[in-house]
């Protein structure tokens, strides 16, 4: 359903280059457990820009690509990067313990926060963001199961509004450009 809301960048705002949500809407709150055991609440991060990625630590291709790109975006932003928070919400709570999420996210950037919760809490977050995640038993692999999932990065601005849905494959230059606009540079 969210897809309907994405307008091409040139139609919604001439400034943004990736998937713009127009009009912006309040970002659904996310209340989950951070990888260090503390409570995470998205609405506490007003004043910061928050990039939200969904994935799982068993994933070797799409999820690490997204996290590596976000780490590079932070590196390119320079000092203002301290106002960009990156959170990684698991779609695989069965396997993703807080410790696995910690090791996985920290391999990319020390500031990244892995989030987990009960299957019910995570399903509610997925639903509120329009994320699709489906566990699949796949023949022909040693993996017990894989998780098919949508791979947008959701970006929330300093006022807590959901502004961007960045598709997988968006160039680093465009992603950095859009996030720095939200950071007010």
């Amino acid at each position: 359903m969210l897809l309907v809301c994405i307008a091409p960048a040139w139609a919604a705002s001439p400034k943004f280059r990736s998937g713009v949500l127009d009009p912006p809407r309040p970002a659904p709150d996310i209340v989950l457990r951070a990888h260090d055991g503390t409570d995470f609440r998205l609405s506490r991060y007003r004043g910061d820009v928050v990039a939200i990625a969904f994935g799982y630590t068993f994933c070797p291709d799409v999820c690490p690509t997204t996290l590596a790109e976000l780490a590079q975006v932070r590196a390119r932003l320079g000092p203002v990067a301290k106002r960009l928070r990156v959170v990684f919400v698991t779609v695989d709570p069965e396997r993703d313990s807080p410790e696995r999420l910690r090791v996985y996210t920290q391999a990319f950037d020390r500031t990244f926060i892995g989030l987990t919760g009960s299957p019910e809490q995570l399903a509610a977050v997925q639903k509120s963001y329009g994320v699709v995640a489906k566990k699949q038993a796949v023949p022909g692999t040693a993996a017990a199961y894989l998780v098919d999932h949508s791979a947008f990065v959701y970006v929330v601005d300093a006022e807590g509004r959901l502004r961007l849905m960045v598709p997988f494959g968006t160039s680093m230059v465009d992603m950095t450009h859009d996030i720095s606009l939200l950071l007010g540079r």
Partner: protein, 160 residues
């Protein structure tokens, strides 16, 4: 590279491997370009048995990407890969359907004669399952590829 191929040749002969050891040598129609590996944590440091702090059992996974160029006239295919950096190696493809990314194993990566197969994030990749060590930027991962026609080749993939 020549040294690695030579070692492979020797090991193949001495080990009495069932696989023909590098029959192609200098006249192989297959060449490899732009190999690299994504950084990835092994997840269970110092615990090769998989025990320890990591609940969930599985070790970390990684991905290696390389472009296979086939300068020959007939098709060939990558059929398997091995590395000492992981317990299991599989050939996988990520496909995108309606905004959903799906990762699926493939039995082989076909490379048409005169063609190429470019592995890349969100597409074909060599999946390393159960990493035996962290893959950190600056490290190199050695992966041996076995082709249906072209024998074996070993690549060195820098981690980034």
């Amino acid at each position: 590279m020549r040294m690695i191929m030579l070692i492979g040749l020797i090991l193949g002969i001495v080990g009495g491997s069932a696989q023909p050891a590098m029959p192609q040598g200098a006249k192989s129609a297959i060449s490899l370009e732009n190999a690299w590996a994504r950084r990835a944590p092994a997840m269970a440091p110092g615990a090769p048995g998989g025990h320890g702090a990591m609940a969930g059992g599985d070790g970390g996974n990684g991905a290696v990407y390389v472009t296979i160029v086939n300068r020959g006239t007939s098709a060939d295919a990558l059929v398997s890969a091995t590395t000492d950096a992981a317990k299991t190696v599989e050939l996988h493809e990520t496909v995108q359907e309606g905004g959903v990314m799906k990762m699926r194993p493939l039995r082989r990566f076909e490379v048409p004669g005169g063609g190429r197969l470019e592995m890349k994030p969100g597409g074909h990749h060599i999946m390393l399952m159960g990493l035996t060590r962290d893959l950190k930027p600056g490290d190199t991962v050695s992966v041996t590829l076995t082709f249906d026609q072209g024998g074996r080749m070993t690549l060195a993939a820098p981690v980034r």
